[in-house]
């Protein structure tokens, strides 16, 4: 589904603050695979994810999604396959807009935004139904501003929004980093259920080794802009939680 071939990325080349973020990564994520990427800060995880999403372009190498070369495609064109959840809850939703408006935008992610009013009763009910699956009691507050909700609620809604339109790839960049343990657990559970229900190909970046251990069927360790370890589902199943901690030891 996603193929990254010998990709390099250097920020500020030739200057004193040059950073070699990615030094030749080759990675293939199969369809319906749920890959978890772990690694120290500055190991290139987020840069890699941003390159797959299209908000950062590689200096060399190429990226394919669903067999199509997307290396030069900007992020807003890659939205036909990709939905994202950001580290910061504020980035994934529009605070001043109502929950309903946010969902409307998400529902037309792969379509052009036309000059017609898309919000009607059918759509409202559809959104309410979706939101009620979270069990947060938000289904009666869909006219409320997104900004009035807590970070955990917003991340959970962002997840739901990603499957409002046809979605093949879900990119999760530390979705629980800003949340308390309980909200974090709920968001991860929701993510895992959605990924299974909608058969999504997904990549999760996390610093939470427990999540890395519990979720996903592949684990990748990044270091110095390279893939340091890569365990498929069979090897991941044999992995002990303590082994994971040793990786960072």
């Amino acid at each position: 589904m996603i193929a990254v071939n010998n990709v390099h990325k250097t920020f500020n080349p030739g200057r004193a603050n040059q950073v070699n973020a990615i030094n030749g990564v080759t990675l293939t994520i199969k369809k319906e695979e749920f890959a978890v990427i772990v690694g120290a800060n500055g190991s290139g995880k987020t840069t890699l994810l941003n390159m797959i999403a299209g908000s950062v372009f590689p200096n060399s190498g190429n990226i394919q999604i669903g067999g199509q070369n997307v290396t030069k495609l900007p992020d807003y064109r890659r939205s036909q396959w990709i939905a994202r959840v950001f580290q910061n809850p504020v980035s994934g939703t529009a605070s001043d807009l109502s929950i309903l408006d946010n969902f409307r935008l998400a529902a037309i992610r792969t379509k052009p935004k036309c000059l017609t009013i898309g919000i009607n009763e059918t759509f409202k009910n559809q959104v309410k139904e979706k939101i009620s699956t979270l069990g947060m009691g938000l289904e009666n507050k869909i006219e409320q501003q997104m900004g009035t909700l807590s970070g955990g609620q917003r991340q959970a809604l962002t997840l739901l929004m990603s499957v409002m339109d046809s979605c093949k790839v879900l990119l999760l960049d530390e979705p629980t980093a800003a949340l308390d343990p309980r909200s974090a657990a709920l968001v991860m559970k929701t993510a895992d259920e959605l990924i299974k229900d909608y058969k999504l190909t997904s990549i999760l970046i996390t610093h939470n080794l427990k999540d890395a251990y519990n979720y996903g069927n592949r684990i990748i360790l990044m270091g110095e802009g390279l893939v340091a370890k890569d365990l498929d589902s069979e090897h991941k199943a044999n992995l002990k939680q303590n082994d994971l901690f040793d990786w960072f030891g």
Binding site: S91, A94, L105, K113, I117
Partner: protein, 275 residues
Amino acid sequence: MALGIYISMKIFNIPDITTNGSYTLGAAVTAILLIHQQPVYIVLPAVILAGGIAGALTGIIHTKLEINPLLAGILVMTALYAVNLTVMGRSNLPLINISSLFTLINISEKPNQNTFWILSSFVIIITSIIGYLLKTDFGIAMRATGNSESMIRSLGVNTDRMKITGLALANALTAMSGYLISQYQGFTDVSMGTGIVVIGLGSVIIAETFINWFRVTSVWVGLILVLAGAVIFQLVLAVTLDIGVDANLLTLVTAVFVLLIVSLPRLSFKGSNLK
């Protein structure tokens, strides 16, 4: 005009200085077309087009050349000053005894009422169009652009194009208010746009304060509040002049008033904490 600033400020988080220039541009284009006896129905589209181009220019400078929006606005505004002078030929163009919108349409016998009705219907029509626009899928995407750029890009919207369109729209609106004002007051002056952005911002900020107080999410109420903000602002100016404050101190009063409105909610919160 306030609506134009509302779009650029609220929707894109950009205080758009181009407004100063496009306001005069609208007035200048109106004056020159009317003086040359062009048909009246051609004036408005020309004005909208001129304002739109000015806004789009700011948008292109900001997005494609990655220049700070404030600077982009100032650049276009400065350039527009020369353009306006060239269009007008001199710094002041009187429109006396020239048929304009207000002399051509006769709704009421009295000229004052006539003007009022024409202006009101303009405001109502424009507000309805903008209100509808902001509720469409396109409009939601536009409102989200200023809110969370990363989100809206990941939802498949080209934010560069969206900003250019939005700024064009905002400046077209501003130019339109220049069109109305020049015909209303009967002249166009090259410096009439100076400081107009502050008046617009003042109106929007008054409206914003109310929107935040009551947590308004409805597009319609928001728009009406912006209009109300503009009216309140003008009223304050009128009252200030009326109670005999020196006209030279007017800008000071304006500044204090805007400051007061903005700080009111914070002051009252402090009060409740003390209890």
